[in-house]
Each structure stands twice: as structure tokens, then as C-alpha cells.
Subunit: 346 residues, 3 copies
Amino acid sequence: MKFREIVEQLADTIVTFQTLDEDLEVSGIASVEDAEPGTLAFIEGEKFAHQIESTQASALILPNDETLQNQARERGIATISTQRPRELFARAIALFYQPFRPEPGIDPKASIDPSARLGQGVYVGANAVVHGGVELGDLVCVHANVVIYPGVKIGDRTVLHANSTVHERAQIGADCTIHSGAVIGAEGFGFVPTASGLTRMEQSGYVLLEDGVEVGCNSTIDRPSVGTTYIGKNTKIDNLVQIGHGCHIGSNCALCAQVGLAGGVTLGNNITLAGQVGVANRAKIGDGAIASAKTGIHQDIEPGAVVSGFPAIANSLWLRSAALYKRLPEIHQTLRQIQHRLNDRS
Amino acid sequence: MKFREIVEQLADTIVTFQTLDEDLEVSGIASVEDAEPGTLAFIEGEKFAHQIESTQASALILPNDETLQNQARERGIATISTQRPRELFARAIALFYQPFRPEPGIDPKASIDPSARLGQGVYVGANAVVHGGVELGDLVCVHANVVIYPGVKIGDRTVLHANSTVHERAQIGADCTIHSGAVIGAEGFGFVPTASGLTRMEQSGYVLLEDGVEVGCNSTIDRPSVGTTYIGKNTKIDNLVQIGHGCHIGSNCALCAQVGLAGGVTLGNNITLAGQVGVANRAKIGDGAIASAKTGIHQDIEPGAVVSGFPAIANSLWLRSAALYKRLPEIHQTLRQIQHRLNDRS
Amino acid sequence: MKFREIVEQLADTIVTFQTLDEDLEVSGIASVEDAEPGTLAFIEGEKFAHQIESTQASALILPNDETLQNQARERGIATISTQRPRELFARAIALFYQPFRPEPGIDPKASIDPSARLGQGVYVGANAVVHGGVELGDLVCVHANVVIYPGVKIGDRTVLHANSTVHERAQIGADCTIHSGAVIGAEGFGFVPTASGLTRMEQSGYVLLEDGVEVGCNSTIDRPSVGTTYIGKNTKIDNLVQIGHGCHIGSNCALCAQVGLAGGVTLGNNITLAGQVGVANRAKIGDGAIASAKTGIHQDIEPGAVVSGFPAIANSLWLRSAALYKRLPEIHQTLRQIQHRLNDRS
């Protein structure tokens, strides 16, 4: 694709651009470190200015910064400047690449219950199993070997990747992506201690995903005994995440890999939980809060808070305590010296 | 279902009940917070008395407590009182709801090796694969797209959910549930460091699950190089749990989501490991012990102990140490002030 | 198999052997604790000498240590002595046991796109799906219900276990093992914050596994927006591990269960990450480094370092700090006593 075609296609968010070669051909997209001649890469900010000196990219997306533009020009690199380089880079990738999406149609090896209802332009791959009463919206894409239990509803354009499973009565919105191996709506971990040991409490509720939710590979979202496990609009869930029965998660949250939410956890909107964070039963986390990696949350967290550690405390305090943790041997030594001094005196 | 029918069905564990409307119709089961008129909910104890004032439920399961009963009667709510409200609630749910269980029969798209032996009333779903020498007991339910490797034995009434996999020679008892995506009996992580790098040690052992075991979605239980990986009767394993090769787990344990046991770990009976707990190679945990969330266990744990933290210590001590951890900056400051005072004096 | 046949087969690494019964028949391999009469077990070193007194094994693999040999002879146990008992034990297991490997051939229920190219002696199981442009090397084994997206290349002798999924354009070397439920090459967790919330950045890169890599059950390795996620030769990955988009991992590493690497992490060669270790975005870990279980790595780690804790510090320091952590109540008490003493004096 010509550089000038890229500029045309992304014009609405470009502030300025420059190229020495009007006919510059861009062969693909690359990271600034690994870029080969002919490719387009991006730099997020001033901090990465040194990469302009070393990159082999023929074109760069830059923040709107004259110094960076000049630096690139001197190396003969074409530039596109924008307020939001990462966003423009994402759009540039999409000009060159679209993920595999099979043509609409039902594979002859799919098993679809006669009572299921399918919208227009649906794809159902080989060995996918669609049980009774399932409803698939328009343009839904069910990849090979997916299993959908009875009574599930799936909104328009949602994609279910190979080997994922959706259990009974789950409701999945439009424009969702369920990645390979994810399991939506299985029985929550609900047992009652009885005289004969732990006895299953039937999980009669269901899972509800609003529009635009992504669920990562091999992640699990359980249904509750009564009511719903709820994931709000546009929330993104990474791989190997566990969402316990009866959780209620707001919109636009990001749950990174291996996060675990116990039962009945409540998350507001715009929350970020970094990798391997755990949240205990029924804890509530306010809008916009952030938990750094491996944080263990046992209690409610205020909106906007940034927390770390286990048990979770304010990130700023945690940084100071963690720095002193490794000085505990020295602190202990000092304390003993003081004791000796005092004992010597008395 | 009429309220009085529910009372009849659960009569054996009801202490007393009351209703102003003999013909009260119960439309379903709900949590006390989300209950709509017509539904039956439950309250576990006195602590939740305030919920009687706000719930929309038409009927409540209560502990045997006259104050609570009166409180409900004043709001016109029918009540069922019992010694064990949670257990009764579980039974009430089961009156209204049973999970999806397909009718016995072999789907024409299932692949069953001629040497496999199937009991009475077995279900094998579409694209399920049953290899040579497998034995399935009576009423076993193998959902769609399950794969069972050669030589596996599965006891009566056990359910294998869609997309789970059982590897060679695993033995699964009766009344077990293997949830979607779980992998039972794959090769343990056994390698020998040799001159040419890490070399696989073949895993010739097998996994043995006693009766009544549940294995959560996408959990993994590996087989060992020799001998067995053993899970005792009625032990319940949540989602995304890792059980290493050669572990020996007693009966009636509860392993919550994302727990990880390294190789050769021994657990007694009635143990609870909360979410994201890790247990190191060959550690032994005594009967009835409890580890709170994210605990890291490197050493043996006494029966009945309650442990927390990483490395694990007594929970009571951990609570005090964790409270002081966040006061480390203050402790450090105090220590410096004392040093200054002493230096000023001398 | 006769004891003397075992000796013949493993002769190249045996230093010496002894048996009272020239015709000793070995029925199988066992662990030294669980061994029954007739079996062959092993002892790794002197430290386990007491097990020679109690084992029921009829034959033992021992380190080359005369005391141990004599001890065994006195109990009438045949012995094989070697410099590397564990390695010999692994080879002995392989004499008795080989994992299930189906005969070459294409199951009639497999779905193979006409544009896929298959080598000699390939097995493709029931309901496996091989999309367009896929290349499978000689003797590749694709178990039942595996799904391979378009453009994937898989090297000779590689095994894909049931219900695993390989996404578009992944390149997998020779002699690799992909265990059940693993997902290779799915879209990385890449989103751009925009006015309308988190927006997907297409992941146009791919995953590259060198020869001899193992990927454990239900582990996930994501592809990046541009470039590759790279796993070096002979690296072994346990179950439920997350490898984020754009990671670069060297050769001969061992990543234990539930390890999580965020995006863009770089690992050198011969690195060991124990269970539940987490590594933050773009951290770099040097050759030969070791992180003990549950370590949280936020910063670069030097080659050869042994680190522990969260945030990660030198293991030797962590052991001392962790020992003092549980003494924090006592330390705090001492500090208060000193304050009182000083206040009383002044």
C-alpha cells in the first residue's frame, strides 16, 4: 500500500505528515525495534526519541512534536503525526491485516438442534454443537468444535473461537469475542457442608455478558445459584481469568491474565486489575480503581484508588513498605544495637 | 409450585413454617437482595435481619429464630424455619431447577472404539471420542466434544462436560463431575537435566479420582512418572486449579480457583485451600487445615492449622504482621528518631 | 523383562551392577516408597539411604556409592549404579512404557482443507480440523478435536493433544508437544483507550516455537500486534501458564505451572520460573536466573540471580526478611519499650 493511501485512509486523525518520496510503498507494519526497510512503525512519545536514530522503518507514526519530526526527516523517514499515536498505529495495522474470519455458512459437520434459531450470515464451523433453544444473532461466527448448551442467546457479530464452551442459558451480547478454550456459564463452586460432606447447591442462575465484552483463552465465568453473573459493556478479560459465581462487573474494565474473582465480587466501571490479582468474596471495588500485579484484595476499595500488595494497601504506601521490607535485617540489627547501648548505660 | 408443596417436600428438615396465604404460589428462587414478589429467598442468620425489612420476596427460609419469624410475619412474608437455612435453600433450588442432562443415547457423530464397554443408560454426545479399552459405568454422561484416551475407567453417573479431556488409564469414580475444559491425567511436568538439555521422563503412572469428586473448568490434574495422582472421595476442585504429578489429596477437601499444587504434595482430609494458594513440592498438609487466599506453602502444615501469607505462617500472626507491614515507614521513622536522640545525648 | 536385559539396554551409563538372582524378572517401575516386590525403583543420593531399609523393590538404581550398594545387597536387592540415577531411572521407565500414540492415518471424521499439506506418516484424529494453508511435517500427530487455524506450520514428529487449538500463522518446530487444551497464537490482550472505550488493536503477528518445546495443558501463548512471540529451543512450559504477546523466551527454560508473563517480557536461556511466578511488562531476565514460587518480578533480573518475593529481591535477602516479617509484632513491641525507657529517663 502506498504511504499516501495510508494517509488518506487515516486522514481524520492525522495532524500533519511528510515524505520525501511521493510514491513510497509501505510493505507492512512493524515495531520500531524490529522494523525492516519498507515498514511503518510508531513511537509513543518523546521518551522514545532515540529509537528514531536506530530504526530501519521507512515511515513512522509520531506524536505531534516538531523535534521528532525533524529528527525523522533527517534520516529520510516519512512521518505521520497525530495526537494519539497508539490509536493511529492500531488503525494502520487494520489496513494491512484482518484476523481469520470464515465465510458465512454452516459446515456439514456442525450439529445444530432444530429448535435453534440462526440469524443472517451466521458461520458455524465443523463439529460445533448448538443445542436446543439457542439463538444466534446476525453474522455470529461459531468456530470449529465450540459447544453451546441449551437456551443460550448470542448477539450480532459475536465471535466464538475454537474449543470454547458456553453453558446453559448464558446471554452474550453483540460484538463480543469469546477466545479459544474459554468456558462461560458453567456451575459456580457452590457447596453446602452437610453431614455427608460437601453437597452441591444447584446453580440455577446464568451469565450475562453485555455488548463488546472479550473473554480470553481458557478463562472461566461461572453462573450462580440464583440471579446472574454480570459483565458490563466493553469490559475486556484476558487469558486464564476466573470470575466466580454472582460477580457483578461494570463496563470498560480491563482484567489482566490470571486474575481471580471469588464469588459475589462487585466491580464498578473503568477498573484495571493487573495480572494475578485476586479479589475475595463479596469485596466491592469502586469506579476507576487500579490494582497492580499480584495484589490481594480482601476489603472494599474506594473509587479511583491505586492499590498494591497483599493484603492490598495504597500503592504509594506499599512502595515505601516494600522498600523497607528488604531492609528488615538492617532495621532489626539497628534495633538490637540500640538495646545494647541502652543496657550498657543503665 | 405452591408454598405448601415446597413445605411438604422439604418437611424432614423444617422446624416450623407460617403463611398468611394458604394458596401462596412460589414462582422461583432468588437471592434476598434481588428477590421479586412471588419468589422464595433465604437468610442465613440474625446478622442479615435487616434484609427482611427490604426484601421483595414473598417467602423466606429462616434460621429457627422467633424474632426473625415475627419480623417477616409483620411484612406479610411466609416463612420456613430450619436449623440449616443454607442446606434447605439448596434443596429448594433443586425443586425448581435441574441442570441440563441429555437423554441417554449415543449421538451418531460420536466416535466410540469397538473395544470400549458402555454401561446402561449412557449418553455420549456429538463428536465425543472414546478410545480403546475405555469403560463407562451406568448412566455416565459424556457431553459433546469430550475426548477420552485409551484405558480410562469412569464410574456410574459421572458427568463429563463439553471439551474436557481424560488421558490414558485415568480412573474416575462414580458421581463425579468433570467440568468443561478440564484435563485429567496428562503427562506430569517431569524432565531430567541432561547434557542435551531438559529431557522428558515418561509419565507411566495414572490419575485416580474417588467417588464424588468435582474438577472445575480448565483445571488440570497430571499423572506421575510412576504410581498415582490420587484425589480422595468427595473432594471439590474449582476452576483453573493445577494438581501436579504424584499429589495425594484426601477426602472432602475444597480447593478454590487457581490453586496450584506442585508435584508430590500430600493433603489430608477436610482441608480448605482458598483462591490462588500455592503449595510447594512434597509439602504435607494435615487434616482440617485452612489456607487463606494467596497463601504460599513451602513447609508441612499441622492438622487444624489456619495459615496465611507467603511464606505461610499462622493466620493470627499474619494478621498482626500484615498490619505492621503497612506501618513500616512509621516504624523506620521512629527508629531513626531514637537513634538521633541517643546520638544527641552521648 | 529380565534384570539383565535392563542392564544390557542401559549399559552405556551404568558404572556397576549386582544381583543375587541371574534370572531376576522385573515386572515394572515404581517409586521407592510405593514399590512392590518385583519392581525397580531409584534413590537419588545418600540422603535417601534409609529408604533402602524399608523399600519392597527387588532392584534399585543407585548413585555410584559403595555404602549404598552394600546396604542394598544385605537386603537382597539387586542394584544398578550410575553417575546420574534420575536419568537412568527415566530411561528405565521408557523400557516399560510408551505414551499412547495412534497409528498414522487420517480419521474419516477429520476435516482437512484441500490446501493443507501433510507429510509422511501423519495422524489426524476424529473431528480434528485443519484449515487452509496448514503444513504438517512428517509423523506429526494431531489428536482428536484439535483445531488448527489457517497458515500454521508444524514440524516433524510434533504431537498436539486433544482439544488444543493453534491459531493463524503460528509456527511450531519439530519434536514439540502441545498438551490438551493449550491455545497457541490467539490474539494478544492489546487494546487502545479511545473516546469510546477500550478498542481492539489487531494482532497481526504470530507465535514461533522452536524445536523441542513443550506447552502444558490449558496454557496460553498469545500473538502480538506486530512481530513474534518467540519460545526458544527445548523450553518446557507447564500447565496453565500465560505467555503474553511479544514475549521472547530463550532456550532450555522451565516455566512451572501458573506462571504468568505480561507482554514483551524477555527471558534468556536456562531460566527456571517456579509455580505462580509473575513477570511484569517488558522486564528482562538474564541467563540462568531462578525465581522461586510466587515471585513477582517488576524489574530486570541479572543473569544467574536467584530471586524471591514480591517485589522480587535476592533469595538470600528474602529468606532473612521473611523470617523477620513474622517477628514484626515482637520488633514493634521492642521499639515501644525503648521509647518508654527513653521517655522515662528524660
